[in-house]
Amino acid sequence: MPATILQTNDQPLQTVAVEGVTVDIIENALRNAREEMDAVLFRTAMSPGIREQGDCFPMIANVEGKMVVGQFGSFIGPFLEVFDGEIEEGDMILTNDPYMCNAAVSHLPDWLVLKPVFKNGRHIAWTAMFGHMSDNGGMVPGSIPIEATTIYQEGIRIPPIKLYKKGELQADVLELILHNVRTQQWNRFDLNALVAACNTAARRVLELTERFSDDVLHTTMGIMLDRNKAAMTAIINMVVPEEPRYFEDYICDDGMGMGPYKIACKMWREGDKAIFDFEGTDPQAQSSVNFFLNEDMFKMFFGSFTINVVDPQIVFNDGFYDLVDVRIPAGTLLKPNFPAALSGRTHALGRIFDVLGALLGMGAPEQMLNAAGFSDSPHLFYSGYDQQGEWFQLFQIGFGGIPGRPVGDGPDGHSLWPGFTNVPNEFIESYFPLRIERYETIPDSGGAGLHRGGNGLSVAYRFLCDGEIGIHDERWLTYPWGVLGGETGMRSTKRLVRVDGSEEWLPAKVEGIKVKTGDLLYFNTWGGGGWGDPYARDPELVRADVERKLVTAEGARRYGVVIASDGSVDMAATESLRAELVAQRGEDLPTFNFGGDVESLRQRCEAETHMPAPVKPTFQKAR
């Protein structure tokens, strides 16, 4: 039963003539409104995850639920199909259950608020936003339990419900939900902030109708969607070949001893239509690393990566969805069957970008192919009771090396996620019982190349209270790949130095590790892959990187560059070393350098990573 929208005014919105300049004006105004949603959220949210790191996604959609401005695409259509009830003015819907909204949100910690916008009793638009809550209850602090095998272990599931009914907060429901989470105050504030952001955007939409009329706004939203469709038609014809193109990549393990898991995708074009087929992707995992991928969201990823080429100022939206066909087989890592666990989906989400980037870039690698580096979004959880007996719970997102790109070197220790920033260490130190003793990039961790991959970060956390940590990390076994002759980037590692001096290497996905006051964790993130022939890099650039301690003198040899003891380039030695290395390697540069196939990685695993190799996944029939 699809949702019924109750209107006291059923007069349909009309399509009217709108002059081009008005469209441009409304486009700008809607863009401003969307930015204002972020601003309102950042200012009023309370958890460091949302306000400092920006882990949130706003949207304004037309009356049919198509996203006109936003980021990750619309989910309103699928949601309306499954929401069995009436929606009326003043209602606000809350949900966090991927299985109830066709994966509009992809794990339970993302709480989604949706508001229908009414004017004079008539439904005219939607506003929505979701944000990552600090906690959602369940097995572990932070609610991303690695070892969960069903979604029931991942905390409270909120089906689409009315948080506000005709403008009135459903306080009982809210209290019931908040009763189930560890960080009540943060969630309360963050949710409040999501509501405020949606209300603000709704107010802006109403102001636009007052300025231009309901019909003009409605028509303009349609035109904005058409503009995207026109632009994307051209782009699809430009970047998607009729001949199928295939790429596969892996997430290293599932945190329960099995891996790697394959993500396979084939891309081709039929007429104006782009097809992405994930046939060949491994079946769903036993643990929480599944990523329930919404097809529309994938279309959005595809569009965002390409549309900047033709009109960087365009307000990007859903208008082109009909032009893309995404096929994901059920029961796979990307479309697991209920009640598979989903919370650790960040790894496969990141990997999707590597796959997509490779597929699009392969056709014109010199102009469009980036190395791998959208590989990872490491998390650290640290929780316990501080000296005053107060509960603390830290959730940190880590950053690594941006890959080498056609445009140049990858920045060191930067974010691939839109809008994300790191949390200032002084902030963390003053609110959590730990000290960050070092925060620096790892020399030589970026893959060598004509354009160097960005370095990963080494962050040294000194724990000042007994507690428990959890780690979610990737690219510890498979490499951030290099392209066009570029080398792989360095893989991630975690080393725990106990206060008694003993040391241990920690797995990439682990939880419930007890730490003592004085223990020191080195959290080392991945380096970006290199782009292009490292032996063609200007030796002067290599020298400057050595002087800046981003590359070591030894590491300079990966570029065939010999640094003399006074720090200058030894040109003669460099030339002969390069000649030697080129002779060894040959002139043909591989498009991709994966650092070996999965089997050889597994064989070298223990020796290189200090971790036992994960076993090849065995799949049980789900359900």
Partner: protein, 686 residues
Amino acid sequence: MSYRLGVDVGGTFTDLLLINEESGTTHTAKVPSTPEDSSIGVLNGIARICDESGINPAQVHRVMHGTTVATNAVLTGRGARVGLVTTAGYEHTLQVARSFCPGGLGGWVSFVKKPLLAPLELTIGASERIGADGKVVTELDEQQLRADLESLRARGGIEALTICFINAYINGEHERRAARIAGEIFGEVPISISSDVVPEMQEYERTETTVVNSYVRPEVAKYVHNLQQSLAEQLGPETQLSILRSDGGLASGRAASDSPVNLLMSGPAGGVAGAMYFCSRAGFNDILTFDMGGTSTDVALIQNGRARVRRETFVGDVKVRAPSVDVRTVGAGGGSIAFVPELTRALRVGPESAGAVPGPACYMKGGEEPTVCDANVVLGYLPSDVQLGGAMEINRDAAVAAVQKTADAMGIELEDAAEGIIKVVNEAMFGALRLVSVEQGYDPRDFALVGFGGAGPLHANALGILTDAWPVIVPPGPGVLCAYGDATTQVRDEATRTYITMAEDISTEQLLQDLLELQSRAGESLVADGIATDEHEVTFQADLRYAGQAFQITVEFTEDELRERGIARLTDEFDAEHEQLFTFKLGDGHEILMIRAVVKARARALAELTMGQAGTSLDDCKLHDTRFYYEGSYHDAIIYDRNKLHEGLEVPGPAIVSEMDSTTVVLPGHRARVDAVGNLLIEPAA
């Protein structure tokens, strides 16, 4: 007779304004700026203005100055070679920054990071550590630091040194010790330490701010020194030089040289101050300002006669923690270029600008792309058929040829394309005005709108219609308003400290004691510049938030208010403002993040001046007949001479009011009158 001189050094022109402190009589001059050494342009201007007005230079006792020297050093990347000392393990603080890649999903693909203002090869780490509670965790290893500084100096060429240690905002002892050692080694090289420049939490922002201070310091110091010396020669040794700070206060030359990071918004702050000066005297204390120049437009909101000051300053890509008048900038100005992307056929205006070279097409300096200025010419808002006093010659044919390109790309008529360009650029400015008003919880209809800058008066009426902020005010001399601002502001300094204390945990007495200590620190520089404490006007500020929030609101109060109402004076106002901004408040859990004392020199009033020629009729003020295009058709209009307009006259739209440095458009259905201080007030005619 005693005169004061306001000087605004802009990118293209240096504007000067000489005010007779007793009579209020003014003289203005505009001379080309001399970017290689701005002080030359200033001195040329002084010579010109004294010559033209017949005033003896020795009678000019105060020179008040807004400058973009610091800004330009940052924008052009021509600052000092800066060395940096961090806590060991934090040498990459600037390299990693906040890890942010702009541009949304996939933005990282094209993001190119700018070179660091303190390069890594000139960065060293010191073995030391202060904890988050301010206690020493690891003592500063002075011996090692000395050795490392020696080898840093041996690298040669360091022109300014920065020291920024972790948690130094709460305990600056190690930084001070390191600075003493560095001073012994580096001699004359200026040293900036973060606990002095910006004792605030957040290591990246504090490091960047202190580094920017170092980066512009030698340039600013040299400039101020040269200027001071030349002023002394030309005007006499008693002449006092003050420089406008980003926050709208004035600093002495000495203070400006030590903390030049506080001058980055000196230019825009002058415009806001000038607008406030004219509007407050006309009885308008709640105003929105927009200062439209060639490449960008600055907007600000002023309430109760006070500009909002925010704790951050943006210059290009550089963002620093320094207080500045809350001016928002959009890349839309008279020189913004219009273009039509082929695939989407949308009309885009800016952020590319024709700049001064090649400039808009109508100026015939080689520009061929259609700009906002050309659209104004095509539509007749900038008349080409009259010679405007002193202004550059305008060629309408060249403007038409340029705008025709836009019309062809969109498949519409010339005038419609021109009007489209104007509307899109107006919308961009409207967006900026909304940012400072609606989005901060203010209704623009409660404000008057003030347009100035070279192009502001052309667009002011149209923006009045968009914002519904009436009247629209065009102050006298809109092109030299910054110089007015410079000449009419007060000396000001402040002292700040990070507090991070829950409001319920602190007594009123303790807070007051801490504030009074800051007050005496802030007052020191004024006393050093010869302003006695009984001339000081003191206000206190506290930055509050609900514990856990990232956002903070600054509350302003006085000593008396705090004594009378206690801490509730702060928390009540915070709650009220939070509710206005975000539609809710909590009522408890207030955290005081930062406290601050602001000390200003008491204002000295200037005499009033009447504008125009009393007794002239509207007809006497008429220059010319013309016509312009608006909302799809041509309207007959009259061009008036603003210098003759006086209080009591009313100009019916459609009309154009012309003066030496600017042109005001009065649209059909609107009227303009002149008020007692010479402002043009535009309102709907009905």
